[in-house]
Symmetry: C2
Subunit: 198 residues, 2 copies
C-alpha cells in the first residue's frame, strides 16, 4: 500500500492484522480510513488500547474482565451466592444480565474447551470453579455455555466433574436454538431457557 | 459486555467500532481477543497507531501517504515526468507499481467523487491536479480510477476538465473487469489494461 519510505503505515497495517477476522485488504482499508478521514479516531483507539491493557484484569473471584480486584457483581452482596451461573465470556455474562431474570453469581470460563485449539481444563479455570462450587455455599451450578459442539462438550465435562463432587448441576433449557452462540440469542429466549433449566 | 465498573473495556469497544466495517459484536470479539489472548498485539497496535498519526502525512506533490515532504516516487528523478497516472488510493498506486509496467509519475486522489457522501472536487484535490497537468511537463494523463460507477464518474469529470485545457487524457483499457476495485485486480490484467489504454 505504501511507498518504500512509509514504514509507519506498513507497521500499522501489520498491527491491524492482529485483530481477529482482519486480513491484509481489510487492514489496508482500516489504515487508509483512519489516516485519511479519522485521525482523531486512530488516536482515540491508541489511548483506549493502552488504557485497557494497563487497567483491565480478571476478577479474582469470577474471572470476568474488571478494573479492580473484584467486579461489581462479585462485590454486590445482594446477589444470591447459592446460585452460580457458568458462562464462556464477559459478553455472555452481559447477555444474561440483560434478561433481568437472574440474581445469582457468575463464573466466566474466558473460553471453552477446545482440544484442537489447545484449550484445556486449566485454560478455562476448571480447578477454581470446582473449588468454589464445592465449598458448601453454592447450592446449584447453572451451565450456560454455548449450545455449540464445543460449548456442549465443555458443559458435559464441567457437569461430570461437579456431579462426582455431589454438586447439583443444571443446564439452560434447550429453548436456546441449537448451534447458536449465547450472546446472539434474543433475551426472551434466554429468559425462558433459564426458567426451564433442568 | 462488561460489568459496570469496567469502563476501559467499554471505551475500547467503542473505539474499535470507529474502524470501517466493525460493528458492536465484532468490536466485542476484538476486545476480548486482544485482552484475553494478545495483549502484546494490543500494545503493538496502540504504538503503531500513535506513530502513524504522528508521522504519516501527504506527499506535497502526488498526495500519497509518506513520512517526508516528498514520497520516494516523486523523489526518483528516473521516473518519466511526461506521464501522470491518476489513482484513487495509495493501495491502487501500490497495485500499479507491482505490475512493473509503468515508469511514469502519480497523482493520488485519496478518494473519488461521491456527491452522496459529500466528496467533491476539492476533496480529491482536482485543482492541484489540473494545475500540475497544465504546466507543460505532463504530456499524458492516464486515468486509473476504479471501474465502478463512482470511479467512472470521477474519471469523466477529470477527463472533461483536462481536455478543456488541451491536455492529452487516456483511460486504462476495459480489460479491467467492470464493477471491480483496482486493488483487487490481478496484476496481469492491470498490465494489459495499461498497454491497451486509449
Ligand atoms: Zn467477579
Ligand atoms: Zn509523491
Amino acid at each position: 500500500m505504501t511507498t518504500p519510505d512509509a514504514h509507519p503505515l506498513d507497521d500499522l497495517i501489520q498491527a491491524l492484522r492482529r485483530l481477529p477476522g482482519v486480513g491484509v485488504k481489510s487492514a489496508q482499508r482500516m489504515a487508509f480510513h483512519l489516516l485519511q478521514r479519522d485521525r482523531e479516531g486512530a488516536a482515540t483507539l491508541a489511548r483506549a488500547l493502552d488504557t485497557a491493557v494497563q487497567s483491565v484484569q480478571h476478577c479474582t473471584q469470577c474471572h470476568t474482565f474488571t478494573v479492580g480486584r473484584l467486579c461489581a457483581i462479585c462485590q454486590d452482596e445482594g446477589r444470591d451466592a447459592a446460585r452460580l451461573c457458568v458462562v464462556e465470556t464477559p459478553a455472555d455474562l452481559a447477555a444474561m444480565e440483560r434478561t433481568g431474570a437472574y440474581q445469582g453469581r457468575y463464573y466466566v470460563l474466558m473460553g471453552r474447551l477446545s482440544p484442537l485449539d489447545g484449550v484445556g481444563p486449566r485454560d478455562i479455570g476448571l480447578g477454581d470453579l470446582l473449588a468454589r462450587a464445592s465449598q458448601g455455599v453454592v447450592q446449584e451450578v447453572i451451565l450456560a455455555t454455548s449450545f455449540t459442539a464445543e460449548g456442549e462438550a465443555t458443559a458435559h465435562a464441567i457437569s461430570e466433574a461437579l456431579k462426582s463432587r455431589g454438586v447439583h448441576v443444571t443446564r439452560l433449557a434447550r429453548g436456546v436454538p441449537i448451534g447458536s452462540e449465547l450472546e446472539y440469542v434474543d433475551l426472551g429466549t434466554i429468559a425462558h431457557a433459564l426458567s426451564d433449566r433442568r
